[in-house]
């Protein structure tokens, strides 16, 4: 699905990702953890195609294609979805109209027919239930005035609607109350299939109780410094990052 090789990325001449290697196979769930500022969101943004970042070296293959050559919208239409850490507000744009247009844009890209208003309503209702959202959000402007948790759920709703091949969740669990966390996790679990992959960025091992990852990676100073299975997350929960930092920094000296 996704093969990242020695990826180095800079912002304004400052290197932020310093040689990332990662292989995500269809159906796998990878968790990425790591201290604040280690480059997790940067990595997610680079995969999604944000322009502010300069790829210095390395390669990213997605379904066998050179991902770095693709525009943001091409990547999205090719099945890459990113749930934002901080979803942006878009005033005056009705959520329901927005959902309709993104669903149809993605259907078109997959060679499917556009949904008419009735089909769309049914489809959206189905997914709204899945993520436990209130229908009244459909009438509001996109993300405008949504609480932190509501924004995250709206991201999950969009993911459910677009049925991506690769979903990257950037701290979707942050700011969610316990019930919401459970509902969102269940939604992700329902969307887990043999060919859909997830990259889940999180600070909390709690989420990984609900969504069992196949791999856990620790990102530190722009590099994956440790990988393991879900027990690594438990270990981090227990001991914090200091021991890893020490290991890495000792080697660096």
């Amino acid at each position: 699905m996704l093969t990242v090789k020695d990826l180095k990325v800079a912002v304004e001449d400052k290197t932020i990702l310093n040689g990332i290697n990662l292989e995500v196979k269809p159906g796998e769930v990878h968790a990425i953890m790591g201290p604040n500022g280690s480059g997790k969101s940067t990595f997610a943004n680079v995969i999604a195609g944000r322009e502010d970042y300069e790829v210095e070296s390395g390669s990213v293959l997605y379904k066998g294609e050179d991902l770095l050559e693709m525009e943001v919208d091409e990547r999205a239409l090719a099945g890459i979805f990113m749930a934002f850490q901080y979803p942006v507000e878009i005033p005056g744009v009705s959520t329901s109209n927005f959902l309709k247009s993104i669903v149809n844009a993605n259907r078109e890209a997959r060679g499917l027919e556009e949904m008419n208003a009735m089909q769309m309503l049914k489809y959206i209702r189905e997914k709204i239930e899945l993520v436990g959202m209130d229908e009244k959000f459909l009438r509001r402007s996109l993300n405008e005035g949504f609480s932190g948790g509501e924004k995250k759920r709206s991201e999950m709703l969009q993911m459910a609607l677009l049925e991506p091949s690769l979903a990257i969740l950037d701290e979707t669990d942050s700011g969610l109350d316990i019930d919401a966390l459970r509902i969102v996790s269940e939604a992700v679990n329902k969307l887990r299939t043999q060919d859909r992959s997830f990259i889940i960025v999180t600070h909390y091992q709690r989420l990984l109780n609900y969504i069992e990852p196949d791999f856990v990676h620790v990102l530190y100073k722009g590099r994956i410094v440790k990988s393991g299975d879900k027990s690594l997350a438990l270990e981090l929960e227990d001991k914090g990052y200091d021991w890893i930092k020490e290991e890495v920094d000792a080697v660096a000296v």
Binding site: A48, G49, R50, E51, D52, E71, V72, D73, R75, A76, L77, F81, M82, F84, P87, V88, I90, P91, G92, V93, F98, S101, I102, A105, N106, A109, S141, L142, Q158, L162
Partner: protein, 481 residues
């Protein structure tokens, strides 16, 4: 995509160099402006003597006036002697049906996507199409006539309802109101006239398409709408102009009069040719639009979507004379490339408990300049007047400019005046977010821009709103990236 949108799109394509100019033989005066020209126009139109005199008086006043320099726009001076002041498509005789209309003219209509006959019936819209200076065809007239509604060309009104024209012409915008209004008063060519008798609610939207057709012909339309007590009307004005190289002056005057409990809604989509990417060519649009809320509880709403013209200078205003009267102004003004717009409104509160709302959304892209200029004036006797203004600017790129000039004159301390203003840049974050969901860049920009302008689009009649949104998209094509 509808035909009209395709046509508009053609206008914006740079390889479509000269637009289309139909070859209808025109009966036109030579270039230049003088008392003789004013007299000749009046004579061509077979006008009564009082109107000829009215024009001449306006012309003499005009000679004493100078072009206003205060708008925040910059353009080479217009040579008024280089303009043809009268051109009319040659008429064979009075036309009874479309079959009798010059086929070339019909073809032009089709290129413009103007819906005729069937389309009109389906759309429920009566269209009074003005090509150059003379109205060619007015439909639905009989149907409206049954209700006592008069909807016709201005020239026709002069012939058939001279007493109404005489009573109201210049009553809201005096002939000497300003330089361009005076010019219009002297040489106005044609336009629309609407009269609603007491208590009549117009059952359909009244719509006029304007079009500049003849090369080097300045257009000087004049529109007058009078709504008697308790009547209601919604009027749509839509403009498209073909490509051309020479700058063209367009100086219209619109006067609205609303009596007790009457409501007039005047909506405009303005898409005159804006000039090319480097600012060559394009229409100068210097318009005086004013509505008088003469009666108690009367209401006038101006809604405008301004995307065209090289230079725009336009302030649809309301004089709130009647007690409890309401004035509203909703505006989206888009400028791209080298366009310049200085637009806004004047709300003059004279009666008690008068209310006004101003919602202005300016969108600037390219190297354009977009200014909002608004005056809220509360007179001595205007007890409990209330104004609410919002004026937002959206910038696309960093070469364009947005400016706001709000003025306030309050002579009565019971007044309540609220003003909000914001300026924002179209956000990289917003674009990235929308594109991450699979929308193309163009689509993402349109989504953001339409969201920004939504409050104004909500005020437009449905079909117009859809068209306006597409127009916005076309106007901003290629402005990002």
């Amino acid at each position: 995509m509808s035909d009209s949108m395709q046509t508009l799109e053609q206008h914006t394509k740079s390889d479509y160099k000269y637009g289309f100019t139909s070859n209808i033989e025109t009966d036109k005066l030579p270039k230049g402006l003088s008392e003789d020209v004013v007299r000749a126009i009046s004579a061509k139109k077979n006008e009564p003597e009082w109107l000829t005199e009215w024009r001449l008086k306006a012309y003499r006043q005009f000679l004493e006036m100078t072009e206003p320099k205060w708008p925040n726009v910059d353009y080479p001076p217009v040579d008024l002697q280089d303009i043809i002041y009268y051109a009319a498509p040659k008429k064979k005789k009075k036309l009874d049906s479309l079959d009798e209309v010059d086929p070339e003219l019909l073809d032009t209509f089709n290129k413009l996507g103007i819906p005729l006959e069937e389309q009109k019936m389906l759309a429920g819209v009566a269209v009074d199409a003005v090509i150059d200076s003379v109205s060619v065809k007015t439909t639905y007239k009989e149907k409206l006539a049954e209700l006592g509604i008069i909807f016709c060309s201005f020239s026709e009104a002069v012939q058939e309802h001279p007493e109404l024209v005489k009573k109201y012409i210049g009553s809201v915008v005096p002939a000497n109101d300003n330089y361009f209004a005076a010019l219009n008063s002297a040489v106005f060519s044609d336009g629309s006239f609407v009269y609603l008798p007491k208590g009549v609610k117009c059952p359909m939207e009244l719509s006029t398409y304007f079009r500049i057709n003849e090369r080097d012909t300045g257009q000087f339309e004049r529109t007058l709408i009078v709504a008697e007590e308790g009547s209601q009307v919604s009027y749509l004005e839509g403009c498209t102009a073909p490509m051309r190289d020479e700058n063209q002056l367009h100086a219209a005057v619109v006067e609205l009069v609303a009596m007790d409990d009457a409501t007039i809604k005047y909506s405009t989509v303005q898409n005159w040719y804006p000039g090319d990417k480097d600012g060559k060519g394009g229409i100068y649009n210097f318009v005086t639009k004013r509505g008088l809320c003469k009666g108690v509880n009367s209401k006038i709403t101006w809604t405008q979507v301004e995307t065209g013209s090289a230079v725009t200078w336009k302030y649809p205003s309301c004089v709130l004379l009647g007690d409890n009267s309401v004035g509203e102004f909703y505006s989206v003004a888009v400028t791209n490339n080298r366009q310049q717009a200085d637009t806004g409104t004047k709300m003059t509160h004279l009666g008690k408990n008068t209310r006004s709302t101003i919602i202005s959304k300016g969108i600037s892209a390219g190297y354009s300049h977009n200014s909002y200029r608004g005056l809220v004036k509360i007179g001595k006797k205007a007890e409990n007047a209330h104004n609410f203004s919002v004026c937002d600017s959206l910038l696309m790129g960093d070469k364009c400019g947005a400016h706001t000039f709000p003025y306030l004159e309050v002579q009565n301390n019971t007044a309540k005046v609220e003003h909000e203003a914001t300026t924002s840049k179209i956000g990289e974050d917003q674009l990235f977010y929308l594109m991450q969901r699979g929308l193309s860049e163009e689509n993402a920009v349109n989504t953001i821009v339409n969201g920004f302008a939504k409050e104004v689009f909500n005020e437009l009649p449905m079909e117009f709103a859809v068209e306006a949104q597409k127009l916005l998209a076309i106007s901003l094509e290629g402005s990002v990236g």
